[in-house]
């Protein structure tokens, strides 16, 4: 194909050029403001534990996992437009694999976590391959019911699953608490820390920083993939698969890759989750009715902005903050209904998600970048002319377009 020979036409060693370009982009002083703000946010996350007691660390740690899950959804659904309504399936495959290996086969999480990640990747293949043939609503249905089927399997093989899980999958309660990665001295954790209170402190910090490191790693990997030409191909698939084929690119391969990458990331996060701050159980991982977590992930991505990778992180923060703020209002009673504001959860969040969908389908990230640009422009005395490119058509708008085309096809076929 074209690239290799064409690059040499322009002269210059391209791999050296690429490396230089990558390095240039990583210089914080040269970055656009929004990247600098992003770096500042990361610094904030690094420093956060200095402001909290160990027993307050659980929520922020959990939040980091939610971010990973939301990013993993975004790379397949936000970028390629293949909507998944059951992404928690991958988190559960990763988490359960590692937990069962630990509890019933005596395999350390250090090995179990990568195995869980791989198995989730296999799950990605198993869903990604049929997804190539399934159009819009059919894919939605399949992804929606896959985690439900998984939860039924947990119940069906409650007491025993020959060879794989001799003691069973534990039904609604889960298989039990697996070995923790970090714990106080004598707790049997993989890495035993100090004794007593300082051990608890260290455990909370270790869990937090492990999650933060993992989140950043996943962020970097997904940014690298989506900002390389593969990301352009993903978004092109969302727009028009024929155009992708006409460019000599195998759309199926890229779609499958997005699914597997997403599954691997979700599986990794899910596996680490159960060895740090989450108990493996259908309610813990899949959520209410076995679909809540999957929907939460979508809500976070929509809040922050789909098809951006960074958006879901911001969406997750909004998600968590709203829970904290609303949860803090336990003394404020709504008159007439006689319900504390705190007990309204998750109604305000759902309302915010609805409002975002209707009024700012690009998500708060894009809305704020646009707002920021307008402010900068007016500070310079210029007129802000709107997004030169890409800003007008939100990723969600394109997913919608793709879906609509597929729906039309289905409707037309029926007639």
């Amino acid at each position: 194909m074209a690239t290799e020979s064409d690059e040499s036409v322009l002269g210059g060693s391209t791999s050296a050029e690429r490396r230089r370009a990558v390095l240039e982009k990583l210089n914080p002083l040269e970055m656009p403001i929004r990247f600098q703000l992003g770096l500042l946010g990361i610094v904030g996350f690094v420093l956060l534990p200095t402001q909290l007691y160990p027993d307050q660390m659980g929520r922020p740690t959990n939040l980091l996992f939610l971010m990973m899950f939301a990013m993993s959804w975004d790379v397949v659904s936000g970028y390629t437009g293949q909507l998944s309504f059951g992404h928690a399936f991958f988190f559960a495959v990763g988490g359960y694999t590692s937990a069962i290996l630990d509890l019933q086969h005596g395999i350390t999480p250090v090995i179990g976590i990568p195995v869980g990640m791989l198995l989730a990747g296999v799950g990605g293949l198993l869903i990604g391959i049929p997804a190539l043939r399934l159009r819009g609503p059919y894919l939605s249905l399949v992804t929606l019911i896959i985690p439900i089927i998984l939860a039924k399997l947990f119940t069906l093989f409650n007491n025993s699953l020959p060879v794989l899980a001799p003691e069973g999958l534990g039904g609604r309660n889960g298989p039990g608490l697996p070995t923790q990665l970090f714990g106080i001295d004598g707790s049997g954790a993989v890495l035993e820390l100090a004794e007593g209170y300082s051990g608890i402190q260290q455990t909370a910090l270790a869990n937090y920083y492990l999650a933060l490191g993992l989140m950043l790693l996943i962020l970097v990997v997904l940014l690298a993939v989506t900002r390389s030409s593969a990301g352009d191909v993903f978004t092109a698939i969302r727009e028009d698969e024929d155009a992708v084929a006409a460019a000599g690119l195998d759309a199926s391969r890229f779609k499958l890759f997005a699914f597997v990458l997403s599954a691997v990331v979700g599986g990794l996060a899910g596996a680490v989750w159960v060895h740090t701050v989450q108990t493996p159980s259908p309610l813990g991982i899949l959520g209410q009715d076995d679909i809540q977590t999957s929907i939460d992930v979508i809500i976070m991505s929509i809040l922050g902005g789909t098809g951006t990778i960074v958006g879901p992180i911001i969406g997750a923060v909004v998600f968590a903050l709203s829970a904290v703020v609303v949860g803090g209002l336990s003394d404020v009673i709504i008159p007439v209904a006689d319900v504390a504001v705190a007990d309204l959860r998750p109604l305000p969040l759902l309302a915010a998600a609805m409002a975002t969908l209707v009024f700012a389908p690009g998500g708060v990230l894009r809305a704020n970048i646009r707002l920021g640009r307008r402010i900068l422009a007016s500070a310079r005395g210029d007129e802000y002319e709107g997004e030169p490119i890409g800003g007008g058509d939100s990723a969600l708008g394109q997913i919608i377009e793709k879906y609509r085309a597929e729906l039309r096809e289905i409707i037309d076929e029926r007639r």
Binding site: L83, F85, P130, R133, L134, R135, G136, P137, Y138, S140, L141, V142, L144, I145, I146, I148, I149, K152, T155, L156, N158, Q288, D289, I291, Q292, I295, I298, I299, I302, A337, V339, D343, L344, P346, L347, L350, A351, A353, M354, L357, V358, P361, L396, I399, I400, Y403, R404, L407, I410, I411, E413, R414, R415
Partner: protein, 289 residues
């Protein structure tokens, strides 16, 4: 072995409920192109309303009034949904899909927060008691559900094929443009469809509560089954929905009765996945309209 007759009766009664839920779901899709994921919440609404009306700890009215009240409440909420939200984003199926999903969660959580909390609730049956026919003892509620559903399904059939409004619904479902040409107000047709579908969901919610118990999240599973049924029977097809409902209902009842009760909601979904993998365009995709 519980008598085969009993299993069949249960299967028929459950399938009938699924059928009226699925018909509403498919009508809304056919007419507006909307996959309405808040349909399950309308089931909950119907159930909660009947609980408020006819549970002895509340108003304690006759269960029949609870049934009517559940139907009306669900219909009103459905109409509000259409007029207040759906009609503004009608042209954006994915936004609408996710939006109706979130609305559904919102409504169910609101029911939990404001009405029944997390505990199960019950309402008295319209027709308590049992009847023995040819040595088989049947719950009257099952007979009632079957008869009512059959009447509703038949009435829907007559409605869309005989009445002017019903024919208009079919016309809109065939093509909005065509409907506009013959002077049909698509918005009005949509509203009627939402009223009808929501009323059906409300009735199903009350009947489900009478047959079993109700809970704030009770709508989710029927929603997923209705979606499955509709995909199975062909999106937008009324006939297909009824057939699909009976296939799913019978599969479900027979496997849970004869193999294991833990298979509840499992076999039907697995069956559906397998079907979709073999025939990605749905069972009756093309033929049934």
């Amino acid at each position: 072995m519980t008598s085969a007759a009993n299993v069949i009766v249960t299967a028929i009664s459950i399938s009938s409920l699924y059928a009226i839920i699925a018909i509403g779901f498919t009508l809304i899709f056919g007419v507006g192109g909307v996959l309405n994921f808040s349909h399950g919440a309308l089931i909950t609404i119907g159930a909660e309303a009947s609980y408020l009306l006819s549970n002895p700890t509340n108003l304690g009215l006759h269960p029949a009034l609870g049934l009517v009240g559940g139907m009306v409440t669900a219909a009103v909420v459905g109409a509000i949904l259409y007029l207040g939200v759906v009609q503004f984003v009608e042209d954006e199926p994915v936004t609408l899909l996710i939006l109706t999903f979130i609305i559904g969660f919102f409504i169910q959580h609101a029911c939990r927060v404001f009405i029944t909390g997390t505990s199960d609730f019950s309402v008295d049956q319209v027709t308590p008691g049992e009847t023995t026919i040819a040595g088989v003892t049947l719950f009257d509620i099952d007979i009632f559900i079957f008869v009512l559903a059959a009447v509703l399904i038949a009435a829907t059939g007559v409605f869309v094929s005989r009445t002017k409004t019903g024919k208009a619904i079919l016309a809109v479902s065939m093509s909005e443009k065509g409907a506009a040409v013959v002077g049909i107000d698509a918005r009005k047709i949509n509203l009627i469809t939402w009223l009808l579908a929501s009323a059906f969901a409300g009735i199903a919610g009350v009947l489900l509560t009478m047959k079993q118990t109700g809970a704030w999240s009770m709508g989710t599973q029927p929603l997923i089954l209705a979606f499955s049924i509709v995909i199975l029977g062909g999106l937008g097809s009324i006939k297909g929905s009824v057939v699909g409902a009976y296939i799913i209902g019978f599969t479900e009842t027979i496997t849970t009765s004869y193999i294991s009760s833990s298979l509840q909601g499992f076999t039907a979904l697995v069956l559906l996945i397998v079907l979709l993998l073999v025939k990605p365009e749905g069972l009756f995709g093309r033929e049934a309209a």
